[in-house]
């Protein structure tokens, strides 16, 4: 129901202000009388709070309010409510908040932190997943049984925060077949820091008995609900608004610092600003989780995958957080890509005494794709088949089953591999470099998804012919709020996209939304916006038909006019019709709502999952060429190519920007972004000097081909395009480096020392003794045992 194409080359309207330094992000907000806050954080990974006395700090100059655990009674979490706002009696990670102070200046607040009388008795800590799974491991949550369970079905026990399983078919029988090769691979990946340039920041005030939180977040409604839960107040007492956000990447998909500012604002009666320092961001960032992975496959010599099993250990840090949900994703990232016979997977979120982890662009998918694609190359090598041929033979096609028994629609990955062949072969540049470096190339595939879920939108038609779109969407930098959403509304109403005003998120004004992330903005908010705009269109056409004396179905909306189809220039302007409609029936508006339909899994296949199957799979094919310096171990990326399934591209140029940026972020993950945790439980990389993100000299232009036409329930056939570009970068680089060096790549990032160790054969094969040999010995609860928390 649109007379104008929604595909446009629309430029971002927020660019000029951003380029002039005029845009006011949350860190730039100042309110009259505003106080500055700082958070006291623990400096041990595990301990008991023997004394926490704030009376001396309260007398320090400038101090206006101090809050502690007593002020925040609630617990939050996903799946299980295991996370208090402040450590209560027990400290579970280095950096855990103990108290928050608001003072007239930031320096005064920080001085007051130092005046808190604090005594902590250190306790034994489990810093690694191997520590946490040892038989005599200290329990990160000794009272885990007492926590409120928010979603039934996951198995839990001791330091296993959550366990999700998939079992389909008879894996033992597949592995016992005489005609199969059994290939086993182990992998380990470290954490990745989002390094959103705007740190997490909030300005809170307490007005008319309600909290108003202005915050740099991707999830205004999530912040509203979680803050209310922690503070023990009704959610309706919290209003969240969101200024432009200076980068998210999933970091801002979880609650971080908002409740501290809210509590301090209520206690002091003044607005309170709290901004994480860069060091706090580096040390307590909700990193992409580190993971240990074992995959084993039974494959025929002809190249069919008869059986597969895997154990994935995901470090959730001290609290379950998003990792609990992400255990679900393994079924779709390790169990996607390829046609499988029998399969069993277990994905376990493990508590450790380290800073909690969270979601990061293509969460769970990036490392599982690395593991799966390296494993795939090891299979191909074992059976002596060309790895590209093996992929072509096995990638998911129409009616194929995913791990959970989900039936996939249409052939997508196969034609995308063909597209990559064309892209690669049309390159005229000489691939090899005769400078003594080792050359390698690889093509990898990846499957992720669009995180659908509820969204709402309202379109208010203004009498001047403009439309105002009200959603809870947030502009985090991807441009969805600036480009795809106005394009969708504008094309439906036949007005210029510049005439669509997009309202910034305000939970008092817009309906519920899951948040901006998971590639869902254009899909979920887009579908709700489309539906709202269609309602407005219907109403306007009805009024116009009376004005023009033509049937509504004979009318079109284009170029700001409502006119008779086939008679350009006839009819009236949209503004005239809107003015008339407003006078006659009152202001014109439309509302829209959207959520996923919920694709079924095979009955009995999954346990402990939040989603059993994925509504909108998204596929990617990446090709990478590298040169490895045998003297230094340095890996240079020579060429990088991406074929990405986008469903339908509403703004190709904007998507290209996302792909270039996502690939570069992935190159950092693959090659040099390394997070290590010291024996004291503290993250060693405290700033930009020690955590090396990609610089302009590190990267190459990515050759991009957008693959359109794959089925999608997204509006106008769209899929999310910003999330997926990072998906198989680690995989592609690792496979290319393995091909260049002939060495078995089992870990990321491929820093020069690590690559040199491999080249010099000084690196031992990775072993994961904390993963049991027999798959079922890794389970808290046998698959299909009665549900409920163990």
């Amino acid at each position: 129901m649109s007379d104008v194409s929604a595909t446009m080359d629309l430029r971002r309207r927020d660019a000029a202000d951003k380029l002039r330094g005029r845009t006011r992000y949350t860190i730039d907000r100042y309110l009259p009388g505003m106080l500055h806050a700082a958070v006291l954080r623990a400096s041990v990974p595990s301990g008991r709070i023997a004394r926490l006395d704030t009376s001396r700090a309260a007398r320090m100059p400038g101090v206006r309010a101090i809050v502690t655990a007593a002020d925040a009674p609630g617990m939050m979490g996903i799946g299980i409510a295991d996370h208090p706002l402040f450590a209560r009696d027990v400290i579970r990670y280095d950096g855990e908040p103990l108290a928050a102070i608001a003072a007239v200046t930031l320096a005064q607040a920080q001085a007051a932190l130092a005046a808190v009388d604090l005594e902590i008795e250190p306790l034994p800590a489990a810093l690694t997943m191997a520590d946490a799974l040892a038989p005599d491991a200290p329990l990160v949550h000794p009272h885990w049984r007492n926590y409120e369970v928010l979603l039934e079905g996951g198995a839990r026990e001791g330091n296993v925060a959550w366990e999700a399983t998939v079992v389909r078919g008879d894996v033992d029988a597949a592995f016992a077949r005489p005609d199969v090769e059994i290939v086993e691979s182990s992998f380990r990946v470290g954490r990745q820091n989002h390094v959103a340039f705007e740190p997490r920041a909030v300005v809170a005030s307490y007005e008319d008995g309600r909290f108003h939180i202005e915050t740099s977040t991707q999830v205004p409604w999530g912040i509203r609900n979680a803050t209310a839960r922690l503070l023990g107040v009704p959610a309706s007492q919290v209003r969240v608004t969101v200024p432009p956000v200076g980068g998210g990447f999933g970091l801002k998909f979880d609650l971080a610092i908002e409740p501290f500012a809210a509590l301090l604002a209520r206690a002091s009666g003044r607005p309170v600003r709290l901004v994480n320092s860069r060091e706090e961001e580096m040390l307590t960032c909700l990193f992409r989780e580190n993971a240990d992975i074992r995959i084993r496959s039974a494959v025929t010599r002809q190249g069919d995958i008869i059986g597969r099993e895997a154990v994935v250990l995901m470090d959730c840090g001290a609290y379950g957080g998003e990792q609990i949900f992400l255990t679900t994703m393994t079924a779709h990232t390790l169990g996607g890509n390829y046609r499988l016979g029998a399969v069993r997977l277990v994905s376990r979120a493990i508590y450790t005494n380290t800073t909690p982890n969270g979601a990061f662009r293509c969460c769970n998918g990036v490392y599982n794709t690395f593991a799966l694609e390296r494993h795939t190359d090891e299979i191909a090598a074992r059976i002596g088949m060309d790895p590209l041929l093996f992929r072509r033979r096995n990638v998911l096609g129409d009616k194929d089953l995913g791990a959970t028994g989900q039936v996939f629609e249409a052939d997508v990955l196969g034609p995308m591999l063909d597209r990559m062949d064309t892209l690669r072969d049309s390159a005229t540049r000489p691939s090899h470099r005769a400078d003594g470096r080792l050359y390698g190339r690889a093509t990898t595939v990846g499957t992720w998804f669009v995180f659908v879920g509820p969204s709402a939108a309202t379109v208010n038609m203004n009498a001047d012919g403009t439309a105002t779109l009200v959603t809870s969407g947030v502009e985090i930098g991807s441009g969805s709020m600036m480009q795809s959403l106005p394009q969708i509304v504008a094309s439906t109403l036949g007005i210029p996209p510049e005439n669509v005003i997009v309202r910034a998120a305000d939970t008092d004004a817009a309906g519920y939304d899951v948040g901006v992330g998971g590639g869902r903005t254009t899909v979920s908010l887009g579908a709700a916006s489309l539906s709202a705009a269609q309602e407005v269109r219907t109403k306007l056409l009805k009024v116009a038909s009376e004005m023009i004396e033509a049937a509504p179905e004979d009318l079109v909306m284009r170029q700001g006019r409502i006119e008779i189809a086939g008679a350009p220039g006839s009819g009236r302007t949209v503004a005239e019709v809107a003015t008339r409609a407003q006078a006659k029936n009152g202001p014109v508006s439309g509302t829209g709502a959207f959520t996923g339909t919920g694709v079924p899994a095979m009955p009995g296949c999954v346990a402990g999952h939040f989603i059993d199957a994925i509504d909108i799979p998204v596929f990617a094919v990446h090709d990478c060429e590298v040169a490895v310096d045998p003297e230094t171990g340095h890996v240079e990326v020579l060429n990088y190519r991406v074929v990405q399934d986008v469903g339908r591209a509403l703004n190709p140029r904007a998507i290209h920007g996302q792909i270039q940026g996502g690939v570069v972020q992935g190159l950092g993950y693959a090659l040099h972004e390394e997070v290590t945790i010291g024996s004291n439980g503290r993250v060693c990389q405290s700033g930009f000097e020690t955590y090396r993100v990609p610089l302009a000299l590190d990267v190459v232009p990515v050759e991009i081909s957008l693959y359109e036409g794959a089925p999608s329930m997204g509006p106008l056939g769209t899929k999310g395009a910003g999330e997926v570009p990072i998906l198989n970068v680690g995989a592609a680089v690792a496979c290319a480096v393995a091909n260049a060096t002939g060495k078995r790549i089992q870990e990321l990032p491929l820093t020069p020392p690590r690559v040199l160790e491999l080249l010099l054969d000084r690196k031992r094969d990775l072993t994961l003794p904390h993963i049991a040999e027999t798959w079922s010995d890794n389970l808290v609860r046998p698959h299909k045992a009665p549900q409920g928390n163990a």
């Binding site: 951003k18 380029l19 002039r20 845009t23 705007e198 920007g657 570069v664 700033g687 930009f688």
Partner: protein, 151 residues
């Protein structure tokens, strides 16, 4: 003793500690929030300003050291109604994403445009190593700069 600074052509005074980083005086006292204190270590370049025409990270610049200098922030680079050349091409090329690094990028590239009119792609890449961007993957910024140099 009050510090006397010239910022974007205006004479201003500050009573801040002379050791205060310039970025804090710009932001907290003058409400020029274009310069972003992203890393405060001099690595990211988001707080870059021109001091007597030369780009410098304002997070590592003590205010006392720039007394009497001409300081230009990103807010001072565009005239009232017009973006400067690099700002205009970055807008036209749809290079901006989250935007936090761009004030610093614009300052560095404005300087590059005037001092290195013959800069090649490699020169631009090298010149940008002090300006980190987490969103864009740099290439579109480099393309835009080449375009600005060519026009």
């Amino acid at each position: 003793m009050a510090l006397s600074l010239t910022v974007n052509g205006d004479r201003v005074t500050s009573t801040a500690d002379p050791a205060s980083p310039l970025v804090d005086i710009l932001r907290e006292e003058l409400h020029l929030t274009g310069a972003k204190p992203v890393c405060r270590e001099g690595f990211c370049g988001a707080c870059m300003v021109l001091i007597d025409g030369k780009p410098a990270p304002s997070c590592l610049t003590p205010a006392a050291l720039v007394e009497g200098c001409e300081i230009q922030t990103v807010e001072g680079l565009a005239t009232r109604s017009q973006l400067n050349r690099i700002q205009a091409v970055l807008e036209a090329c749809d290079a901006v994403q989250c935007g936090m690094c761009f004030p610093g990028m614009v300052v560095s590239l404005t300087h590059l445009l005037t001092t290195r009119p013959d800069a090649t792609r490699e020169d631009i890449r090298a010149a940008l190593t002090g300006n980190i961007c987490r969103c864009t993957g740099y290439e579109r910024i480099i393309d835009a700069t080449l375009l600005a140099l060519a026009t």
